[in-house]
């Protein structure tokens, strides 16, 4: 039983948290790709920027003496998401809309998004330095240790409060997005435009509005993902820049343009990364009693050494591109 609890602690919880963050980021990327047809690299900066907005709000609220039973990061999340959406809209207005108006190719927009990445990255570093910040400087990070001795385990089940809230909030966001895309008129318009932009336009869909809504959703979800990542680890200027590639991998593995695919891809990549670096000898230790002398398991038996954790996503990406370039959910491929 101890081994199972260890497995849950190391793989199921960590994988779910990482997977939720990847999924939230990948939804934004995949929606932007579906509507505007370009790979939006600056999404990482929407995430980092959103996390910094949430951090500033949390500091402000704490200074005003607001107290809450849950971590301050989650209290300010709705407000931060609104600001994140405005931020995303502003970036589109300032940088991408003029290029679109000129009829620039998607590749030009891609390069512009890299310029935006660099600018925001530079600004964040300019104002916040290159050090790291924590949401939990003035409040404790609650850690729950559920005693599992009733089940015959010597190890407790360990989960932190932000992690529980994170998984819950992601689930709510995903359900809300699902309802929006399937039930509301605007959501249906969005799906129609992703399928065929010209046809959608001649059917009388307000494409400019759809583009704005896309940025609002992408910005809000990116802000959420960034804040949650900062709550789980620490807040630093290259917070999301380092994980933008696994997020892209998640969006492609799920099928670019497919919102559900992005969720599946995010969870898949999150679990694959944690499983790949998981030390199997801890779980398989009981086998040592059965196995003969020459087949004893070594101390560490991970599929991939921990240093190479980030490469797992790329290997999955490359295999997907080779075997099924459209991704799991048949996204755009050409």
């Amino acid at each position: 039983m101890t081994e199972l609890i260890f497995f849950i602690n190391q793989v199921v919880i960590a994988g779910a948290v990482l997977g939720s963050i990847y999924a939230l980021g990948a939804i934004g990327i995949t929606l932007i790709f579906g509507i505007l047809r370009f790979a939006h690299f600056a999404h990482s900066e929407l995430m980092t920027g959103g996390a910094f907005i949430a951090f500033l709000l949390a500091t402000l609220f704490a200074a005003w003496g607001v107290t809450a039973p849950i971590p301050m990061g989650f209290v300010v999340l709705p407000l931060a998401m609104v600001l994140g959406a405005v931020f995303a809209l502003g970036i589109d207005k300032g940088f991408y809309a003029p290029l679109r108006k000129r009829g620039a190719k998607p590749v030009t927009l891609l390069i512009a998004s890299i310029g935006v990445t660099l600018m925001i990255q530079g600004l964040i570093r300019l104002f916040f330095g290159s050090g790291s910040y924590s949401f939990f400087e003035n409040e404790p990070k609650d850690v729950f240790r559920v005693d599992m001795s009733a089940l015959g385990s010597t190890r407790p089940l360990v989960i932190t409060e932000p992690q529980i809230l994170m998984i819950a909030v992601t689930a709510i966001a995903v359900i809300a997005l699902h309802l929006f895309l399937t039930r509301s008129r605007l959501g249906k318009a969005m799906r129609a435009m992703a399928d065929n932009a010209d046809l959608a336009q001649v059917s009388g869909i307000n494409t400019a509005l759809v583009v704005r809504v896309t940025w609002v959703i992408a910005g809000a979800l990116a802000c959420m993902a960034g804040t949650m990542l900062a709550l789980d680890v620490t807040l630093k200027p290259d917070l999301a820049f380092n994980i933008i590639l696994p997020i892209f991998a998640a969006a492609i593995v799920g099928g670019l343009g497919q919102a559900y695919g992005a969720i599946a891809g995010g969870l898949l990549i999150g679990f694959a990364e944690t499983l790949a670096v998981f030390n199997w000898s801890m779980v398989l230790k009981p086998l040592n009693a059965v196995l003969p002398e020459w087949m004893q398991l070594p101390q560490t038996l991970a599929l991939v050494p921990t240093e190479y954790k980030l490469t797992v996503a790329f290997v999955i990406l490359v295999v997907t591109l080779l075997v099924r370039p459209t991704g799991i959910f048949k996204g755009a491929s050409s």
Binding site: Q121, L126, L321
Partner: protein, 427 residues
Amino acid sequence: MIRRSLTLFAGLFVLILVIGWFMGVPFTSSRLVEAAAYSLIAMGLNIQWGYGGLFNFGIMGFMMLGGVAVTFISYPVNPQFWGSDGPWMLGRALIAFGAGALLVIAAQQSHRVGVRGGWKMALTALAWFIGYCVYRSQIDPAAAYIEANAGWVGGLGGHPVLGWIFGGVLAAGAAYIVGKITLGLRTDYLAIATIGISEIIRALVKNMDWLTRGTLTVSPIPWPTPLPGDYQAGGMDAQTALLAARGGFLLLVLVIFAVAMFLISRAYAGPWGRMMRAIRDNHISSASMGKNVTARQLEIFVFGSVLMGIGGAILVSFVQINDPSSYQPINHTFLIWVMVIVGGAGNNWGAVFGAVLIWLVWIISDPLAQLLFGTISHWSGQIGWGEIPDIQSRASQMRIFVLGAVITIALRFAPRGLIPEVVRREG
């Protein structure tokens, strides 16, 4: 067109003189050598993007391979490694690698003996897994043994120029594999796949301590030309010796640059160049004219990567230290992209102009930002708002912002670059 290019290059020359005036000759001379190496790399990207329309975001990976290659070839031999069991263990790992590769190839050919569909897929996956396990079972102890007994494999003690050539060859090999996997994908996918592969290369180089010494870094890597110390031993004073040594290095890089430029310009002006432009502008029509689009794109991807490998090797030789953790996507991949976009994709002289200009902008935006912040801080301190804290570290982040601003402005107002491509119309 010619007049515009000449004016721009004259302006660049004046800029170099101004920088030399303010920052001193030793600083400027070393920036110039780096700018020459970056010109070579930017030309490589210009071949891929400007001629071929291929989206390579993995420049950092190819530059790193060049750095590793020149370290391996030119660093002195490590007798501790060659005297130990290390080579023998590495040989076994190589055999294990070969066996694993054979297994995978056999599984891929299994349809010849009647294994089809899902079974073949499962068999291939199993073969990959077994091959990987067999290789890991040999390489892990070998790596641990070498790191414990000899540190790392050391170099071969060859001439650095040989190392540069080997850097090109290594980058070409990597580009061939990468191209085989990713070419034929649409642009966005190609961009992400190449970034992914360059990150894999970075992770490998950083963590394969037995081969590259990883984050421990290797130095000093020898120069192909005499070092300042050699000139000083001949009786020169320090300043002249430094200039003479750097001048020699710069001359060598410029010779390589001139050869590359000559060959590329010749090729591009000929039928090969016309074919490449045709493929870039409309690959469907060129395929219908009987051109093998994928093979030609692979060719151009490999050619461009060779220049990136050589450029990366030259940079490592020049700074004399191979430090894998100094490689960042911003400083290596995106910087080169800004160079080519600002200079003018599709025009070699444009790419070179962009390379030198952006490299100088990148370098001087740090001291300029410090000057600016110092002034603002002084002023805000005087009117009682307090001074800006740690200007030093903040100002060095300013260049990332400047880089981003330059590329967004260029895309908005000069999308074809400062020295755009010259479209020649025949007949």
